[in-house]
């Protein structure tokens, strides 16, 4: 510690800059509106916990929380299953057209997501799915990125166990389910965490498809509060804290797996 003192000084100051906005958010969330807007501001929190219950009055927060949990959860389960299935086929099974199909998949990876949105919206609209859970979930069940990530992971697994199982007469389904998936657990967890994070924090798609406040996700619901009549900053701070806390908690707990996921894929959504 002593040897690296100057280094720690720089890092502590920078780390403080990273967390200061969160600390100010917490302090503000516990103030009354009048003390939050007093000049000079008081740097201490007050015990205004009712700001947190007010969040549930200005927004259908419970509904939006549930919508977000369901959207993120179902997308995660769907992608982990579907992407790992496709990735297993691309990594290990031989079939005509495999390389062409994988090439097409890679090309999807390079297209910015905004190019999909108008037609996806049209599909949702013509199915009568606007303002529904399906609209939030369904397009997010499929992902070229997930297939790519899982395939890279599967290619790195030793083949011997699979070959031994094949000699014992196990078919592809059995090999995928009872050998490949258990071996690939770290990769599956990394993908799951990334999908969970992106889905929880996603704004554009939920904003577009679900405009009924009861059907919105937390991100869209919070954004809709911004700029309304008079902004009650303490309540906004409480709401944005409640909305981001679950995902922050999950990632603080599972940091190692998540960081491994990013470091190995190095790819952002």
């Amino acid at each position: 510690m002593r040897k690296n003192l100057p280094v720690h000084t720089i890092l502590i100051a920078s780390a403080l800059a990273m967390v200061a906005p969160f600390i100010w958010q917490i302090i503000t969330s516990l103030k009354s509106l009048s003390s939050a807007t007093s000049v000079p501001p008081s740097l201490l929190p007050e015990g205004r916990w009712d700001n947190y219950s007010k969040v549930f009055q200005v927004l259908p927060f419970g509904h939006q929380f549930l919508n977000t949990v369901l959207m993120a959860g179902l997308r995660t389960i769907g992608q982990v299953l579907f992407c790992s299935m496709a990735a297993y086929a691309f990594a290990r099974l031989r079939f005509p057209g495999r390389n062409v199909l994988f090439g097409i998949l890679l090309s999807v990876l390079m297209v910015p997501p905004q190019l999909f949105i108008i037609p996806q919206y049209q599909i949702m609209s013509s199915l009568g799915w606007l303002n529904s859970l399906q609209a939030l979930v369904v397009p997010g069940l499929f992902s070229a990125f997930g297939v790519f990530l899982m395939r890279q992971f599967f290619l790195g697994l030793p083949k011997e166990l699979e070959e031994a199982a094949a000699i014992d007469g196990a078919g592809p389904v059995r090999i995928y389910w009872s050998i490949v998936l258990p071996l690939a657990r770290p990769g599956l967890v990394a993908l799951a965490l990334l999908v969970l994070l992106w889905s929880w924090n996603d704004l554009f798609w939920p904003l577009v498809v679900n405009t009924d406040p009861d059907k919105m996700t937390l991100s869209a619901g919070l954004a809709s509060l911004q700029g309304q009549f008079q902004t009650d900053y303490p309540v906004l701070m409480a709401g944005s804290l409640l909305a981001s806390l679950p995902i922050i908690a999950i990632f603080t707990l599972l940091q190692r797996q998540f960081i491994q996921g990013i470091a190995t894929t190095g790819t952002k959504g």
Partner: protein, 300 residues
């Protein structure tokens, strides 16, 4: 042994890729083609559309709002690259021999990466508030009268860049830290034997060996920055209300403009042309980066 290329294996292959294959075809591949087609049409009030050829693209060229959005997006993207040297600096500090609390620092830097962008934008809007914001209060202590950061055309874009860098530096830091840990210790030992000090080692060993990582981060950051939406949507004042913000002309990005045309004014043909332009921009800027990588990227 499995028979190579047996019919049964092939059928299972197709079965395994079927769900994702169909989903991608319906929700991703077909939409790209449709967007390209929509960009050549004009939309009526009730969803019908008529073929107009390249009219929308002509309109792009003479639309001052498009020009403005392009300038804003490119400025944001360029300035946002400052996140890279910052992240390299922090990664090098954290990677020093015998450093303690690395995990704790990493967590603190990483917090903004996992926090909901809408929440981040709200917190910063509050910090930037001209009358009651913490930043202007701290500035007033040293006698500076701070502006209305995100509502002042002179400062709005820079205020946004600061948030963008703050939010992304932790992500880049993780990637650079992984890159640093992949550099063999022997290189530093050899450099030390040759009498190279800390700075020489940094410039002659660390930086060159980190350049492939920096190239990757730069490509990904540029693509990400060009698609900026969430932060600016909330910081500008959200949706249609944002137009009341006097700094709106300095904050509007290409994707924001796309959102407005596609889902607020329902001018979907034009919106499709706007995202086609975004695609072109991404392709061109990525190609330029690949072209110039020979000048500065060293592969070991």
């Amino acid at each position: 042994m499995r028979r190579p290329g047996s019919v049964k294996e092939a059928l299972w292959g197709y079965a395994f890729i079927a769900p994702t294959g169909l989903g991608i075809a319906i929700f991703y591949l077909w939409p790209v083609l449709q967007t390209a087609y929509f960009s050549l049409t004009e939309w009526g009030a009730f969803g019908g559309h008529t073929w107009t050829g390249i009219d929308n693209y002509r309109r792009l060229g003479s639309d001052p709002e498009v020009g403005r959005a392009l300038v804003n997006t490119l400025s944001y993207t360029g300035l946002g690259l400052l996140s890279i040297p910052l992240a390299i600096g922090f990664a090098v500090l954290l990677n020093r021999k015998g450093m303690r609390f690395v995990g704790l620092y990493r967590t603190l830097f990483f917090l903004p990466v996992v926090t909901m962008p809408v929440a981040i934008a709200m917190v910063w809007r509050w910090l930037y508030n001209g009358d009651y914001g913490l930043i202007n209060y701290l500035l007033s202590l040293i006698g500076i009268d701070g502006p209305n950061w995100v509502a002042d055309p002179a400062t709005a874009l820079y205020a946004l860049v600061v948030v963008g860098i703050w939010a992304s530096v932790g992500y880049n830091l993780i990637i650079f830290l992984a890159g640093l840990q992949a550099i063999p210790k022997e290189y530093y030992e050899a450099a030390a034997i040759d009498g190279a000090g800390t700075w020489r080692q940094f410039f002659h060993v660390t930086l060159p060996l980190l350049s492939p990582t920096a190239f990757f981060v730069s490509v990904v950051s540029v693509i990400g920055s060009l698609q900026l939406f969430d932060l600016v949507y909330v910081m500008a004042g959200a949706g249609a209300g944002a137009r009341a913000n006097p700094a709106f002309p300095r904050l509007e990005t290409v994707v924001q403009l796309f959102y407005d045309r596609a889902f607020v004014t329902n001018d979907r043909g034009y919106a499709a042309a706007i995202v086609m332009m975004l695609l072109l921009l991404i392709v061109v800027l990525t190609a330029i980066q690949f072209r110039f990588q020979k000048r500065w990227v060293h592969y070991a």
